[in-house]
């Protein structure tokens, strides 16, 4: 499968996730064990009405989706994946009005477990809004 076709399949895959659609997530790039997914600023996702800052939970949803995509894109070929645990560190508030971009890397995969790291940025590319570390299941189907 060439890269263009792969991206198309992956976009359809994410488009079929109702919650990813609800947050208007967009797959920006996908490589071997790496994924970039972004979502627009949205008033419905505000967690603090005084500041207009997006709720941490919405950032979690973006990071979780991005980590899952990174696992699925790994060369070791999982058929499906689910989150075992996910830790998110919130470094700073995301700037209201700006798109949030998550990048995830599946840096190690065993027969049953995938280890993933991710960061989330807004327009300020230097300091991340949040970072995440997660462990995911690797479903390989029946032997």
């Amino acid at each position: 499968m060439d890269d263009e076709r792969k991206m198309q399949v992956a976009r359809q895959f994410i488009g079929a996730i109702p919650h990813a659609r609800a947050l208007e997530m967009r797959l920006d790039s996908l490589g071997a064990g790496e994924a970039t997914i972004s979502m627009p600023y949205d008033l419905r996702l505000v967690g603090d009405p005084r500041t207009g800052v997006i709720h941490g939970g919405a950032v979690s949803a973006l990071m979780d989706t991005c980590c899952g995509a990174a696992v699925m894109s790994h060369a070791d070929g999982a058929l499906a994946t689910a989150t075992i645990d996910l830790r998110i560190d919130y470094m700073r508030a995301a700037t209201p009005g700006q798109r949030i971009v998550a990048r995830a890397v599946c840096h190690h995969m065993t027969r049953s477990v995938a280890f993933v790291r991710a960061t989330a940025h807004d327009d300020d590319g230097d300091l991340p809004v949040a970072t995440a570390t997660g462990a995911f299941t690797v479903e390989r189907g029946r032997a």
């Binding site: 996730i17 919650h19 505000v46 709720h55 941490g56 939970g57 990071m63 989150t83």
Partner: protein, 171 residues
Amino acid sequence: MSPSRPPPEPVQVVKQRRDSALRALVAGVPYIQFLGIVFERRGDELTAVLPHDEKLIGNPALPAIHGGVTAAFLETTAIIELSWSLMWEEMEAGRIDATTLDPLHLPKLPKTIDFTVDYLRSGLPRDAYARARVNRSGRRYASVHVEAWQDNRARLFAQATGHFLMPARDG
């Protein structure tokens, strides 16, 4: 003669004060409305309810609730519980007037420092419930544990622990 003590407040006054404070706290957060989370109250105990909705699904094949929705549900429950516990004393002592509270005049919300979610089983396409416990509430930091279940209270589908930065207090 025994010292006279003030008569107890009428139950409706107590309920109205607590319910309107809780309503103001929750209604001010658009993301809580987006996910459809509601909070039920028994005395000071809160239970968060996440009614099932198609847009919460993350795996349409199973189907299962999105892991990010589960994380968001738990984090929201933790923040509201922590804010509620901070408000409680002030509210009961009459130092904040619950009847005039609106989202812009509520005490400031705590900020999440980190949040770790433990996924125990997949979230089924039905209502979910969560309760949080404030394990430590200091002047600057707090640690909160939260548990979520669906059909059986004893069979959790997720739990989480988070640390929070407390809002600056006057004085």
